[in-house]
């Protein structure tokens, strides 16, 4: 009885903490480790992680918060932003490969409530390993990067 109540409380707490309501126009912020791109331009697709892309969301954070926590080296990184609806549409190789699609998911961390991830799904299941073709991976990274705008330039020397 008591355990059941406890489980209910934990479930309620988790459902309150995780906010998977992303508006299409909400901005997502990506930390850039190596970016010669100027503010206002798009970064290269090689700046995009795959199959899971860690980002912060504008609903709960500002772009420069990506540079101000955890590790001093982050202070020298840059930041690019993109809208939720800029996430590329699903891709399916015509050779019979399985459809891959992407979704943004709120994944709060102890020291970063804003943390979210653009996750890859193959046939509806999350992908974490290297099981998606290099070409799909490359197309996704480039397509998303072209929808991004650098808002803080890197200062890595």
């Amino acid at each position: 009885m008591i355990q059941g109540l406890l489980n209910l409380t934990v479930d309620a707490l988790e459902s309150r903490l995780i906010d998977n309501h992303f508006q299409p126009e909400e901005l997502l912020y990506l930390r850039l480790f190596d970016c010669p791109s100027l503010v206002g331009t798009a970064p290269s697709g090689v700046s995009v992680n795959f199959p899971v892309l860690s980002v912060n969301r504008s609903k709960y954070s500002e772009p420069d918060e990506l540079l101000n926590y955890r590790h001093p080296k982050y202070a020298q990184c840059g930041v690019a932003q993109f809208r939720v609806d800029a996430i590329p549409p699903p891709m399916v190789p015509s050779t019979g490969g399985k459809q891959v699609h992407w979704e943004v998911v709120h994944v709060p961390e102890a020291d970063n409530y804003s943390h979210s991830e653009v996750q890859s799904f193959k046939e509806g299941k999350p992908v974490t390993g290297n099981t998606i073709s290099s070409e799909i991976k490359k197309a996704f990274r480039q397509a998303l990067a072209e929808k991004m705008t650098v808002v803080i330039a890197c200062r890595l020397q």
């Binding site: 480790f33 939720v84 549409p89 699903p90 190789p93 015509s94 490359k138 990274r141 020397q157």
Partner: protein, 169 residues
Amino acid sequence: MNINVRVAAAGVGEIEHMSVQLTSRIPVDESMTQTSFSVTGGDASDWLSNITNTVESFRPLVAELDKIRLRIHTLETRPSETAFECVRSLLGRLQMLELTPNAVLVSAEGGLALTFEAASKYADLECFNNGEIVGVLSDRQGTIEPFAVSDSFEGITVAIRKVRAFLAS
């Protein structure tokens, strides 16, 4: 062999069509073994000037590679020695074929990439830490063509020619 990628409906909003063509293996060009510099004039001094200019245009890229080595401890995704070897190999071949990249970048996936830009067009050749090479061509208007690059003299030559032809088209 060309692989057509069908892009299905977007998750939100109306259906989008993004033209993505995948090329898993690029046909071998019979002329790819020609490695001489192009000579724009009959004068020997022009030829020497071309070579000198080409070599000079690569100095910043080689310097950038050295800078990456120096700041590698600050990078979350560290390029492997295999990736450095791969980029050096690409740079050598690019120099021979007189195509100068705009930049050397550290890949978020681990590895290094050479990027190319001409007007609104973009291309890159990315060397992953395991030695795999993948390229991409984009007109930045929604047409993106990724392609696998064979890690061989011929494969790299064909890939460079593909990038050059795209940028010049």
